[in-house]
């Protein structure tokens, strides 16, 4: 867990963009997540909350692109 937290933090540090053209961007597109349709809604809730609202990861996807 510690190693994963380190990798995640380092990749985010390397790739995070706070602004673009003076406007807020707060994004990294270099770290992604896949999966969710087999998980519980509480699990999906925490994934979106931490990864997107907390860490600025926008590349989230799952099986339910319908």
């Amino acid at each position: 867990m510690d190693m994963v937290a380190d990798r995640l933090w380092e990749s985010r540090e390397r790739t995070f963009q706070e602004t673009r053209d003076g406007e807020s961007l707060m994004q990294t597109t270099a770290i992604a997540h896949l999966g969710g349709a087999t998980l519980d809604i509480e699990e999906n809730y925490l994934i979106k909350k931490l990864f997107t609202a907390g860490l600025g990861m926008v590349c989230l996807s799952n099986q339910a692109r319908i």
Partner: protein, 869 residues
């Protein structure tokens, strides 16, 4: 989701599976329900025993076809032609439920003078920009509606957008302003435009290009269109056999139009059942792990001029009339759930801590970036893209470009072991020695080893208690996310840079229990339900949400699931009636059949005794009946609407059942929100044996092919190298990419080996022997499978030529107790324009007797295969 979402307002099945037993006719199409939803299929059988006619439309005779009255084989990919044929039949023969159509749909709405149909422009609607390869939907708007122009992206039409968001319906437009003609005679009213649009979708056309004999088609048309009117209803069931096409959303739109015309939405025995392919497909879009939406279908902010500030973003997405008039309440309450006390009016409730969407960040969008070396890390949780995703060769090779990969699953999946035993290693394209990707494999708890909630195919939230602890180091994903979050937040704690403001503010104080410090799952569900900020009281109803920061709510559509501290309605197990009230909780507001205001006439009385569901109780002055009303409880039927100037749901008056739409009616015609047109149009699949019989434009012009050297296509129409139609499907015994089933001895034994289903005619033609091997190829891959020669597959006569269809279940891979080639390697990465799903159900292939070569020889053969014929 946008197919149903734009038509009715919500991207969910409109009814419950039990309610199918009330149907007078059922069409199952794009689904083998008996095979993949066997529990729900009992209600189809119940309907049949009560006299309903059951119709199964499918290229392949399967376990569903065996149990129905009429099986209709059709050419894979010709669905809109078939459904358009049914719509045309209804319109030509005046079979529509006139009173329902006039009052509850936008049939009477008049369109702008500059709108042009695909009939006028040979396969294009007006507004096509050939250079950008996208539509400007301005001319699709209702006549009299305010222009959406102004240099900004229109809601639902952003370059970067997928269609999952609220903006899928373009709800932010002011559709409350329009002109209408309830005689439905005006030449530019939706009804007449639609009549012209579908006029060439004739029984003859269906026979010639779907391969369905005219008399069979007419039998289906007569049977289903008779399940309509005050006394009768019919239902339609579909699954990924409709969604996984380059025009999947528009196939579902066709069903929506048919059901609205027949008055079959919001009524018992009616509806459209979207049969989902995983336990929580519905749940994972409601509470999304998708890039373009936040919980409750609130759109992610895009990096656009009108999304830099909260007030502009709200202005863009908030509607004046209908339920989306509460957009600011839903959104600000979510920000309060995410960021707690740190989210204040002064800082726009943390709006600028949210990242902005800048492009296609969906599965294929970022995977192609990965293939091009632009990604660093990836978490894969409960999905197995090495087997389950299109163009597996590209997918697996891309993984080798990552710095690190985290896989959480119950077994070591092919995704986790791509570096060791993938076909690419065997062929020398990848080697373990040279792959630098650091792979972390975490054992995940299974469904029976953790607490949590699934939202199933009929919007039903069911909470599971934990029967057993997970073995060894296996943990739930709630545990993983919580403890990963704890560690990451610790790293950011003393780091005041703007990038960490949201992370530091993120509420993450879930209570833990047990020796592994497992976070309390119910505490997460309580946050999703919502609470008052000041005194932390659970919210009881969506109407309690506020836009001033005084309420927090993780997903507005789920509000009411946990209305009191000790009351988890998802965990209720006391069913009271057929629709299951008392068992779990259905969103929204425990309405089991949504839009159920439409089950009563405009005056509030049931259409008939036989089909009553919800009605106006004159004594109590409120809506009453067999379901919770999907309508403001005390809004009387005679209340006049005030669409021109009113605000909120009340502005819809007492007789507009589709409350999420600003005009309160079902949309036969979608003026804004779909990227490939306001009406469904038949296009051929991206790879097809035949040319589009209706228009010069062959395939959906808005679909994205993502064509590149590692994602090549066959020529279309009619590539002689790949003459047959290929369709993939699932079997009862295995689950999708097989990680959970090929590893189990009893299931592996039941379906031990990959096979391909072919007709006796095709077997004769090319010399295939039952039980022997065949090699199947597309421009992406060559695989082998055992041959199953069966009458379940039939060649079809398409425009004078015999077209063969080949069937392949896709569950096998290079791990597990039983192994086989990865069928999805055959598929191209392609994106339907609205939701960015790939086309799996209709492509072209070659099939030859014998086994495929191995190693580098296979790549050579693939190259030779691609040489022009």
């Amino acid at each position: 989701m946008p197919g149903l979402g734009t038509s009715f307002g919500r991207g969910g099945a409109t009814t419950a599976q039990q309610d199918l037993s009330n149907s007078d006719a059922i069409i199952i199409m794009g689904s083998s329900m008996a095979e993949n939803h066997p529990v729900g299929f009992q209600w189809v059988m119940e309907a049949r025993e009560r006299g309903a006619k059951i119709i199964h439309v499918d290229p392949r005779f399967n376990r569903t076809s065996a149990m129905v009255d009429i099986w209709v084989p059709l050419r894979a990919g010709s669905d809109i032609l078939f459904l358009g044929g049914l719509i045309n039949y209804v319109l030509k023969n005046n079979k529509e439920f006139r009173e329902y159509v006039v009052h509850y749909t936008n049939a009477a709405t008049i369109l702008r003078d500059d709108f042009r149909d695909t009939e006028d422009l040979d396969g294009f609607f007006s507004g096509w920009d050939a250079e950008k390869a996208k539509y400007d939907p301005e001319s699709w708007l209702y006549k009299g509606a305010p222009s959406k122009n102004g240099g900004r992206e229109k809601a639902g039409h952003s370059e970067a957008a997928a269609g999952h968001g609220k903006d899928r319906g373009g709800e932010a437009q002011d559709a409350g302003k329009f002109e209408s003609d309830i005689s439905l005679d005006h030449p530019r009213c939706v009804f007449q435009v639609m009549r012209r649009h579908f006029s060439r979708y004739t029984p003859e056309m269906v026979e010639r290009y779907c391969g369905v004999p005219k008399e069979v088609f007419l039998k289906v048309a007569e049977t289903f269109s008779s399940a309509s009117g005050p006394e009768k209803t019919g239902a339609i069931c579909y699954a990924v056999g409709w969604t996984q096409h380059s025009k999947g959303v528009q196939i579902i739109r066709s069903a929506a139009i048919l059901q609205l015309l027949l008055g079959n939405i919001g009524r018992p025995g009616g509806g459209i059942l979207a049969l989902r392919g995983h336990a929580s497909i519905q749940g994972s879009t409601d509470i999304p792990t998708l890039y373009d939406i936040l919980p409750g279908y609130l759109p992610m902010p895009f990096f656009e001029a009108d999304s830099h500030k909260l007030k502009d973003y709200i202005k863009k997405h908030k509607a004046r009339t209908g339920s989306w008039s509460g957009f600011d309440k839903y959104f600000i309450s979510l920000m309060k759930a995410y960021y707690g006390n740190a989210a204040t009016k002064e800082n726009d409730y943390g709006f600028n801590w949210l990242p902005r969407v800048t492009g296609d960040h969906s599965h294929f969008g970022y995977w192609l970036d990965m293939a091009d070396g632009k990604m660093e890390g990836l978490f894969v949780m409960g999905q197995n893209p090495a087997v389950g995703a299109s163009n597996g060769r590209l997918e697996r090779k891309a993984l080798a470009n990552l710095k690190w990969l985290v896989v959480r699953d119950m077994v070591e999946t092919e995704t986790a072991s791509f570096w060791l035993d993938s076909p690419e290693v065997e062929r020398g394209e990848l080697s373990p020695e040279s792959i630098a990707t650091e792979v972390f494999l975490f054992p995940a708890a299974g469904t029976a080893e953790k607490e949590g909630t699934f939202t199933n195919t009929q919007r039903l939230l069911q909470y599971r208690e934990k029967p057993v602890d997970p073995p060894g180091d296996a943990r739930s994903d709630t545990w993983f996310m919580f403890h990963l979050g704890r560690r990451i937040k610790e790293k950011a704690r003393n780091d005041p840079r703007p990038r960490n403001a949201g992370l530091n503010a993120l509420t993450w104080d879930y209570p833990t229990e047990g020796k592994h410090a497992e976070p309390g799952v119910e505490s997460v569900l309580k946050e999703i339900n919502g609470y008052t900020v000041a005194d932390h009281k659970q919210l009881k109803h969506i109407q309690a949400l506020k836009n001033d920061g005084s309420t927090a709510c993780g997903a507005w559509i789920y509000c009411g699931v946990f209305p009191e501290d000790e009351k988890n309605r998802a965990n209720e197990r006391n069913p009271q009636d057929l629709l299951g009230h008392g068992w779990g909780f259905v969103w929204p507001n425990d309405c089991r059949i949504i839009y159920n205001r439409a089950s009563a006439r405009p005056d509030g009385k049931p259409w008939s005794e036989r089909k009553k569901l919800v009605w106006w109780d004159e004594e109590k002055k409120q809506w009453a009946g067999l379901d919770n009303a999907d309508y403001p409880k005390d809004l009387a039927p005679e209340t006049k609407d005030n669409l021109k100037n009113g605000k909120g749901v009340e502005a819809l008056g007492g007789a507009r059942p589709f409350t999420l739409h600003p005009d309160g009616v079902g949309w036969l015609y979608v003026a804004s929100g779909l990227k490939d047109g306001p009406l469904p149009t038949h296009y051929e699949p991206l790879e097809s044996p035949v040319a589009n019989p209706l228009y010069k434009q062959n395939a959906n012009p808005a679909a994205l092919k993502r064509e590149r050297p590692d994602n090549p296509y066959a020529n279309s129409p009619g590539d002689p190298r790949f003459p047959h139609v290929l369709s993939t499907y699932r079997l009862t015994e295995h689950h999708t990419a097989g990680g959970m089933t090929r590893t189990l001895s009893h299931l592996a034994e039941l379906q031990p080996e990959l096979f391909t289903e072919v007709s006796p005619e095709l077997a004769d033609e090319i010399g295939l022997t039952h039980g022997d091997w065949a090699t199947i190829s597309t421009p992406r891959a060559i695989i082998e499978a055992r041959v199953l020669v069966t009458r379940r597959m039939r060649p079809l006569w398409i425009d004078g030529q015999r077209v063969h269809q080949v069937g392949l279940p896709y569950h096998w891979g290079y791990k597990g107790r039983v192994k086989g080639d990865v069928v999805n390697d055959l598929l191209a990465i392609s994106e339907e324009p609205n939701v960015r799903i790939m086309e799996t159900k209709a492509l072209v292939c070659d099939i030859q007797p014998g086994r495929r070569p191995h190693g580098r020889e296979l790549l050579k053969e693939l190259e030779q295969k691609m040489e022009p014929a």
